[in-house]
């Protein structure tokens, strides 16, 4: 089977948690934001996706079993249901704690014909990690992703909320250097951005 087909690893499922084992960790601000988000929809269930994004921010970029359980608890849904939703979507980090920065390199059609594989190989060699892995210092996670719909800038890569491209090896070097010196985690910042664009001015 192609290594590119991203089969879920059954050993990496978050553990089932009972509500009584749970320490709720959402900040006051997050609780307020969740309430505002809930008010956008006719049902609480509809808030599962925004709720998971909020949890991804609150829990440092990783939707652990606790994080998923907290979302389930706050939205009155079952753990299994919310976990099922979280694991369906590729931008929720449910498998393991990602690095501080997630390098999402596109290898889809346009990037494929524009040298994305060489860049992918370059990153693999330089960082010593492959698709889905994180460097031992917890700095970078590498992910090969499908079309980022920035094909005019192929070969393209996304890190957090930012797009980069067309990239070459030199630019990748510079980008990694810049990211190493970035204080906050772009993974967490990204989740924070997702939450904040869904809120009106008066809801923030």
């Amino acid at each position: 089977m192609s290594e590119l087909i991203q089969l879920a690893n059954p050993n990496q499922r978050p553990p089932q948690l009972k509500p009584e084992d749970l320490t709720l960790r959402f900040s006051e601000q997050a609780v307020k934001e969740l309430e505002a988000l809930i008010s956008h929809y006719p049902s609480k269930k509809s808030c599962i996706l925004p709720g998971l994004w909020l949890a991804q921010r609150e829990y440092g970029g990783f939707l652990s079993g606790e994080a998923i359980a907290e979302v389930a608890c706050r939205l009155d849904r079952s753990f299994a249901e919310v976990q099922g939703v979280a694991t369906f979507y590729s931008l929720y980090n449910t498998a393991h704690q990602p690095g501080k920065h997630k390098l999402e390199i596109c290898t889809c059609l346009c990037c494929h014909i524009n040298g994305a594989w060489n860049l992918r190989d370059y990153l693999v060699k330089k960082l010593g990690i492959r698709h889905g892995e994180t460097t031992s210092d917890g700095m970078f996670t590498l992910e090969e992703v499908e079309c980022l719909n920035t094909c005019d800038r192929a070969p393209a890569m996304q890190v957090g909320s930012e797009y980069y491209g067309p990239l070459d090896e030199k630019q990748i070097d510079a980008l990694l250097e810049k990211l190493r010196n970035t204080q906050e985690s772009t993974v967490v910042q990204y989740a924070a951005d997702v939450v904040s664009v869904q809120l009106r001015n008066d809801e923030k």
Partner: protein
């Protein structure tokens, strides 16, 4: 014919992204005019204009606008599909980033015409710049009384919310999008005739009008300039009216978004994008990865229009137009496309879930130089058994590119199997193997 800039006329002008600048360019005159019109008159002009959905399928927009219940018994919802995930397409991104008010005004007109209570813009989470720009524009519109309660003193209320996805191509399919909006896994639902149309029972089982970003952005122009004027654009085609934004990429000198009038030859689109880079033209996927590939000869004679593209056995699709030069390995391209669909298959139905993986396996074996004599036939069989037998159109979209590649470039597949490498490169290709 050259570019015809209707939606993108002011896209390079940063002031167009502010309410003041948008109004200075005639923004919001359409909404003011629409609010003085009968609701049915707006739906009628959408019909007379001949607007077709720009999301991919090209269904007449009027069927949706006119199909919404006239008598309001419950909430009505609008959805804007900004989940743009089709490889090769990036036009909705430009509209969100550069023309957010066009979308907001178009949706608000739609909200009035079909008595909508709220609209949801489902933006893929990768489009953070677009989502941020839309957020800013929405906040400005709310502050100016152009959204919310009693819009422009008309007594009409309408809200627009942004909902972000979380990384799933399948959520662009409209029923899967609704599942996702309702907080579920992005899996599609039963469609007509097994279930009512979304205009009768859509998101939260309420009447729902769902359109692509570009579709809504056309509404202000139809209201302002009149249906007749709009229908005069593309009049040389059978049934395609107005303009279409094409995202041109691949081996071209100036990749980017180009807006053209329907009826423009495909060859001119290539010229607009600065011609082919790195060699002669070999092939083109004119409407996003789901549509069949065509040859350079077909590019010469193809006319852009929903029916016209059928003559070269392809489609307008979402407008993600990719050109490929003579050094492109078409087998490897088919393999990469198959990988995309295998990764994005939601897993609900067997033909697509299993079939896409089978296609990848066979294509990968061929690309690694281990192809077997019966592989082409087997590949064709697997693809044909996905096509038309899957629960939602993603399955068909996975099969078509492979079937088209087999039909248009059979000699490349044969060469690969016979010699263990491609016609354009003598090394066995190991792409995808770390």
């Amino acid at each position: 014919m050259a570019e015809y800039k209707l939606l993108l006329e002011h896209s390079k002008d940063p002031t167009f992204r502010t309410l003041e600048g948008y109004k200075a360019k005639g923004g919001y005159t359409a909404l003011a005019k629409a609010l003085t019109m009968e609701r049915s008159a707006i739906c009628d002009s959408i019909k007379a204009a001949g607007l077709r959905g720009r999301g991919g399928a090209g269904a007449p927009a009027f069927l949706k606008w006119g199909g919404m219940p006239k008598e309001k018994k419950t909430q009505h919802y609008l959805i804007c599909n900004a989940d743009e995930g089709e490889p090769g397409t990036f036009k909705d991104k430009e509209l969100l980033e550069n023309c957010p008010f066009l979308l907001i005004e178009g949706m608000t007109i739609g909200g009035y015409a079909v008595q909508g209570d709220a609209g949801y813009v489902y933006v893929r989470a990768e489009y953070m710049d677009g989502a941020k720009m839309l957020r800013k524009a929405l906040d400005e519109a709310y502050a100016a009384g152009l959204l919310g309660k009693n819009i422009l003193g008309s007594g009409i209320d309408f809200d627009i919310y942004i909902h972000l996805g979380a990384g799933s191509y399948e959520c662009g399919e409209e029923t899967a999008l609704m599942s996702s909006l309702m907080g579920e896994r992005g899996m599609p639902r039963l469609k007509f005739p097994s279930a009512p149309f979304p205009v009768i029972s859509g998101v939260w089982e309420k009447p729902t009008l769902i359109h692509n970003v570009e579709s809504y952005c056309n509404a202000p122009f139809i209201v302002n300039n009149g249906a007749e004027w709009f229908a005069s654009l593309g009049a040389t085609t059978k049934n395609s009216r107005g303009t279409k934004i094409f995202s041109v990429s691949g081996h071209v000198n100036k990749p980017g978004n180009y807006e053209i009038e329907f009826g423009t030859p495909l060859r001119e689109l290539l010229e607009l994008a600065g011609g082919v880079r790195g060699g002669k033209l070999k092939a083109c996927i004119p409407g996003g990865s789901s549509v069949p590939v065509i040859t350079a000869e077909d590019v010469e004679r193809a006319i852009i229009g929903y029916e016209e593209m059928g003559e070269v056995k392809s489609m307008v699709g979402s407008g993600g137009c990719m050109f490929f030069n003579e050094h492109t390995d078409m087998v490897k391209l088919a393999w990469r496309s198959a990988v995309f669909y295998a990764n994005e298959s939601c897993g609900k139905c067997t033909p697509c879930r299993e079939g896409t993986r089978w296609m990848v396996q066979i294509l990968e074996r061929i690309c690694k130089g281990n192809g077997r004599p019966g592989d082409i036939e087997m590949l064709r069989q697997v693809a044909s058994q996905i096509d038309g037998r899957s629960f939602c159109p993603l399955g068909d979209a996975a099969a078509w590119p492979v079937l088209a590649a087999l039909r248009v470039f059979p000699q490349e597949f044969e060469h690969y199997i016979e010699h263990g490498h491609s016609m354009v490169d003598s090394k066995p290709s190991l792409v995808g193997v770390p």
